[in-house]
Every structure is written in C-alpha cells, then in structure tokens.
Symmetry: C2
Subunit: 478 residues, 2 copies
Amino acid sequence: MNFKLIIRFISILIIITSVFMLTAIPFALYFKEPTSVSFIKIALFGTISGLVGLYITKNSPKNLGRKDGFLLVSLSWIIISAFGSLPYVVIAHLSFTDAFFETMSGFTTTGASILTNIEALPKSLLFWRSLTHWLGGMGIIVLTVAILPMLGIGGIKLIKAEAPGPSMEKISPRITETAKYLWLAYIVLSAIETILLLLGGMDLFNALTHTFGTMATGGFSPKNASVAYFHSAYIDWVIIVFMFIAGANFSIHFKLLTGKFRAINDEELKAYTLIVILAVLIVTLDNLSIYSRFFKSLRYSAFQVVSIMTTTGYVTADYSKWNGLAKTVLFILMFIGGCAGSTGGSIKVIRIYTLLKQAVNELKYNIHPKGVFSLTINGQSLRKNLIFSVSGFFFLYIATFMFVALLVSSFGIDLLTSLGASAATLGNIGPGFGKVGPVSNYAWLPIPVKWILSFAMLTGRLEIYTVFVLFSPSFWKK
Amino acid sequence: MNFKLIIRFISILIIITSVFMLTAIPFALYFKEPTSVSFIKIALFGTISGLVGLYITKNSPKNLGRKDGFLLVSLSWIIISAFGSLPYVVIAHLSFTDAFFETMSGFTTTGASILTNIEALPKSLLFWRSLTHWLGGMGIIVLTVAILPMLGIGGIKLIKAEAPGPSMEKISPRITETAKYLWLAYIVLSAIETILLLLGGMDLFNALTHTFGTMATGGFSPKNASVAYFHSAYIDWVIIVFMFIAGANFSIHFKLLTGKFRAINDEELKAYTLIVILAVLIVTLDNLSIYSRFFKSLRYSAFQVVSIMTTTGYVTADYSKWNGLAKTVLFILMFIGGCAGSTGGSIKVIRIYTLLKQAVNELKYNIHPKGVFSLTINGQSLRKNLIFSVSGFFFLYIATFMFVALLVSSFGIDLLTSLGASAATLGNIGPGFGKVGPVSNYAWLPIPVKWILSFAMLTGRLEIYTVFVLFSPSFWKK
C-alpha cells in the first residue's frame, strides 16, 4: 500500500478545501458576523496541515495501485468531512458527532440535517454548509465518471463514454481532461441557475446556497422551511428544472453545451425522463384531492418527485401528509435515484434499466432456453461480467439498506423511520419517512445512530463496494 | 401449445380435489352441521366436470412442451382455486372475490384471510379451508423440487439433489418417484405433528387443521386468535418446531427419515438454522422489555420469528406492538423465507445465501481483478448462468414487491400497509404490517386490491417467472 501517496493526495485536498472555506468570509463581512477569524484560523490550520503532509510525503513513489485507489477515495471523504466539520464546532459549538454528520451529509450531497433551527446560525456558516454540497458534487462527478469505472465498481463502466483506459498508473492526463470538461459544465450550469434565481428575487446569498444545493442534488437550504420559504412558483420551477438537470449525466450536459445535440439520444436519459414524467403525472393526479387545482398539484408534486428521484431532498410540501399512492411512488423513487455520472445518488437509473432489460431477457430465455439474448444499451452489447456487477450491486444495495435499518432500529427507532432513515442516507437523499420525514430532521437521533447514518451516506455515495472492500481481510493482505 | 393435455391434467387435479373435499363430511356429521349436501354437490360437480374434461381430451397428444408446462402450472393454481372457493360461496355466502382470495391464500399456503369472525363458520368449512393449505403444500413440494427446476426458474436448480433430467418429455417415471418420496416425508411429519398436538390436549379437528397450517407453512387457524387461543407453551413449541421443519427442504427430511443422516450436512440448512437462531436471539433480547422473563420472551419471540421466516403466519403475539428492532427483524425475514424444496415461500434462503457468497466474490474481484473466484455450494461449483438466474430472480422479486405495493396504494391504502400487504402476499406469509398486521385481516380491502393480492400470492408461489412469462408476447408466438 502506498500510504505516502495517499496522504499526499489528501493533503492537497485539504489545502483546496481550506482555500474554498475562505469564500465564506465575504459573507461574514457583509452580514457583519464575527466569524471571519474562525474561518481564517481553520483554513490556516488546514493549509499548514496540508503543507506538512506534502512535506513529509515529498519522496513518495508516484504509482497509485488499485487498493490505494479504494483507500484514497474512502479516506478522503472521511478526512475532508472531519476537517470540514471544524467550523460547526468552533462557530456554532456543535458536538463533533453532529458536526461530522452535517459535514458528511454536505460532502456526500445527502442533505440530511441535525440542525433544528437553521436560521439561528450565522449566514457565513450556512454558506460553508451549502458549499460542502457544491464541492462534494464536484468530487462525485469526477469520482463516478473517471475514477470508479477504473476500479470496476458495480458495473458503472456502463457510462464509459468519458471513461479513460483501464490502468490506474496513467491516471493524470485523461482524467484531468475529463474532469475539466465536466466541471466546466457543472460551473456553467451553476452560474445559469444562480442568475435565474437572482432574477426571481433571491438575494445573492440565497441564490448561491440554493444553487449549490440543487446542482449537487444535496438539499441543504439556509431556510428552516427549505424552498417552501420563498412561496414562489417561479423559484420552484427553476429549481425543479435544475434538479432534473443535476440528476442527469454531466458528460451529456458538456456535449450539449458544446453543441453536440446528438448526445441527447441516450437510453438512460430517456428512461430517466420517462420515469420522472410518469411519477409526476401519477402523484399530481393523486394529489388533486389535496391541492384541488391541477397546476397547483403539478407544481408541488413535480417538486417533491424530482427532488426525491434526483436525491436532492429540497421540500416545498409535507409529503408525509400525502396519500398512500403518492408516498409509495416517492418510496420507490428513493431506490432508483439519478443517472450515472450525475451528482445524484441511490442505485441509479442505468442499473435499474439494465436489470429490467436483463429480466426481460431471462423471461425470453425461460421460454426459449436455447435462444441467445444479448443485452444492448445505446447500441453496445453488454458483457456478462458487467451485468453480474450490476446485479451484484443491486443485491448489496438492498442488503445494506436492510442492515442499516436493522442497526438503526436496534436503538429503539420505529420500523418506518428506520427504513426511511436508511433509504434516505444510503441513497444520499436527505429527508425520509416517519420521524425523519420532510418536516422533521435527524437531530433527535441517538449519537450511535448518527454515526451509523454517516457511514451509510459515505457507503452509498461511494457506490458501496468502494467502502466494503476495506472490510475484506484480503484487502489488507500483501 | 398442447391445450388438450393441459385441460386433461387440470381435469385430473379437479377430480382429486373433489375427492379430498369429501373429507370435510365426517366433520360436518360429527359437529351436526348441515353442510354435507353442499360438499357432496360441489364434489360431484367437480368430478363430473373433470370426467367431461378427460373425455373431450382423450385423444390429446402425450407430449408436454416447455410452454405447456408454464401454462399448466399457472392455470392449475387458478382453476383449482376457483373450484375450491365454491364451498365458501355456497355454504358461507361469501362473495366470489372473497372466496377466491381465501382459497388462493389457502392453496398458495399464504394464510392471509378475509374472514372477520372465523369461529362463526361451520367447522367442516374451516376443515376444507385448512385442507387447501395441506393440498397446496403437496403441490408446492412437487412443483419446486421436480417441475420448476426443469423449467429452469430463478436458479432453483441449485437444489437439484432430487431433480430429474432436463427434458420435459420424459417427466413421468422420475417425477412420480421423487414426488412419492417427498409426499411420504410430508405425510409422516404431518402424522407426527398431529399426534403431538393431540397429546397436548387439542381435539382431532384442531390438531389436524393446525397441522395442515403448519406443514404447509400456511397459517390458517380455525380460531380467531390463531394459535394464541390455546395458551399452551407445549403447543407453541410443537408448532415452532414443525414450522421450522416445514421451512426446510423436504428431500433432506426424506433422507433423514430413511436413516441417511449425512443429509443434514447441507449449506442451505445450516444458513437457515443460523438465521433463525440469530433472529430469535435478537428478538428475544429486544422483547425482554415487554415480556420481562427470558423464557416467556423466548417463547413468543421464537414463535413469531419462525412463523414469519418460514412464511407460515401463525401468531401468538401482536408483533405490531413490539419495538422497532423486533419489527425490523421480522420485516427483513419476510424477504428471506424458507429453504428451497420446502413449503415456505418468499425469496428462499439458498438464493440469499448464493447472492451473499457472490457479493463476497465481487468484493474479492474488485481487489484482485485478475483473480478467478468460483462460487461453491455443497462442494459443487455454480455455473455463471445459475448465478444470473438467481440475481435476476432477486431483482424481479423486489421489483414485483414494489409494483404490487404501488398498485395497492393506488386504492388509498397507506404506505406501510401497502408495503406490508405486498410483502406478506408475494412472500406467501399472511400477516403483514400496518392495517394488515397480525391482529388485523384483509377483509376491509377494496375488491380490486383483493384481486391484486390474489395475483401476488400466485406470482410469489410460482416463483415469479412462471407467471410473468405468460405476459410476454413471445410466449404466445408460434
């Protein structure tokens, strides 16, 4: 294991995070909050630690092996979350458990919160909170499009349009290039959303924080009432559209931005759009009994459906008071999630789509046992090993979901809340069902449960395998 | 399609069912109930219909193809359920929907009931109700051990110890033999349980009906309070032990009965036993707060755990009032179920076990992408296609579970009840969660929901694929 190089990479990430943290200071100054010194101290601490890390690892070997890759990915998320929780501890005097939960929730773009009165906190701290989403989103895009495919995680190679070659040794040139393109799309789309929200009457602070929450499919809002606070159909629809965009593959966005409109002809994108349209329609009709007018129902239904499906977690309505059908639709969407290569979490549309196609093939195979049925997506026929990976991922996801629910319930939490909390954190969604529903939060949970759910967020975000391999004895053998 | 031969087989099954129906008459006479004439009329109607069916198909070709096999299995269960519901309609004046639901629930050994006051019905009718369980159990054993493996359903070939060759043409000799052995085990074990229940103070009527419900992992009881009625630790433990036995592979039981004790060395049996022991332990400890004494907690916890895990559905305690942990354990067990070749339903231990082993292999493969990891069960290494089948089955099971819950919720049923009803019928368990919990029933559900759940029982019982292929257009093509 090349621990030195791992430490080196993480040191760089800490320095980058420290620099970004300083962007909270303008808000501290503008809102006359006494938090600037704290941010500077923490950023300084991060930068110095990072530089020390770089110094003691300056002679590290340059080759990053496969196992190093796994360890690097998991460790970065954990260490950056630990570092990123310092502002909460120093400024808002949160316990480390709560601060870590909130930061992990931020960087994994989950959006589950332990804050009971968000608006009571300094705006500069809330800016940092939303910024963790946006930075996490950047990390995820590179991770799922460029790094995880190389590690062969859960059949995510399906989306290999942008994925570089198979060898971990020659990462840099191709990954850097891919990452730049994707980030460009991410930044351009973020800028457009910010401008649209400003045009809708939001101030810069709210426009930026809500853009961060949207583009990262995160869901943190600096308002206690989430997006419902703004009572604006325009803002609702802007956020609906951008949540939908953030839940789609960013390599498609990049191509569209550069005028390659044929990129829209993508099977996953079509399946994703179809599911969203169907779900919005069903929920809108089911909610007519609550909202009486069609367009009112459409607005609230579309917002909650797109928010849950893309694993964002913003709310404009208390869906826990909706009818059974609408709630069941949301529950099912929690296990689908966004597209591969998006900032969305959960199982991902492409995997569900692959498994459905495979199930149809199995049916055909049962009828004609001598037939050969190949599985084709976007004109490419999938290798068997890939389908294996995808179905293995599906089983592991469901098993982990059940296991996390079991652990949560062992602290006296009721069944529906346990299932809801597990699905909402593992899928990086945020709000769940029961006592962690859209108008509740995670503050009341026992300390061990907060750690279990932090772990679930990490595991879900890193596509399960990345974290689980670390628990395999054979991982640590020479 | 060889419709003639299909009709011929079903005609025989109707005649057999008619003959068995007559066994309700001694109870009608003993309890002085005016139901004998009705039973005779219905049995006569069945026999005559069957004979007509045999007569008009006497020149049918003798070869049963693969597609015929699928159609035969699904159609038999539906037609026999329709025929078996006649006593409810004629004697108890139930609607056909309710009667069909109750009979499908009986023959699929689900045990979900639409009866609100069971004890108000004639005992002879309740005997018929329990008998549908026992006959259904007989059908299932042959189906899962002898017929479905030939159709290649959902990787159930795993349990092929007893399964005959691959060709559907030469069914008879080997299947008949296998069936005889398994039925022998079924009958001997049923006799032993009946005797043990008689020794515990039950009368013959209760001993037989509860044996039928146990050995078929069905769960119908002629008592409103289910097994709780008897307030007997002895009876509870006898039923616990026999539910456990009924949830294990009957080909192992047959070997054990003939003195081949090495049969106990079976990986699925070990995994099954381990899961039951673990679950009983966790639930017993969690229930100490309710039952205060360890052995009291053990008795009630073991009963409910084994009842749900084996998909029986008898109850001696209202588990809906238990703590979150105990309920979550039961919820998870609903998705495991009994062993292959048992009368138990749901996904089956062997499939979960295979998928867990495969997940571990995938983890190893992620670490060593050039390694070769084979999956071995009972010393046999599994072919890739089999693992495909198993993971395909798992996905289809979960997808069907979600889809049925969605349909149920569309009739205004709440989320937890929809999920519970779907899991409990698809897994052939009986009681679920929410408003179809252990002390509730299915009587209050709207008519379409009863049909949807009847369909779920059938689909779950026939291992999903068997029913789903019938909806595939390519099934009906020449």
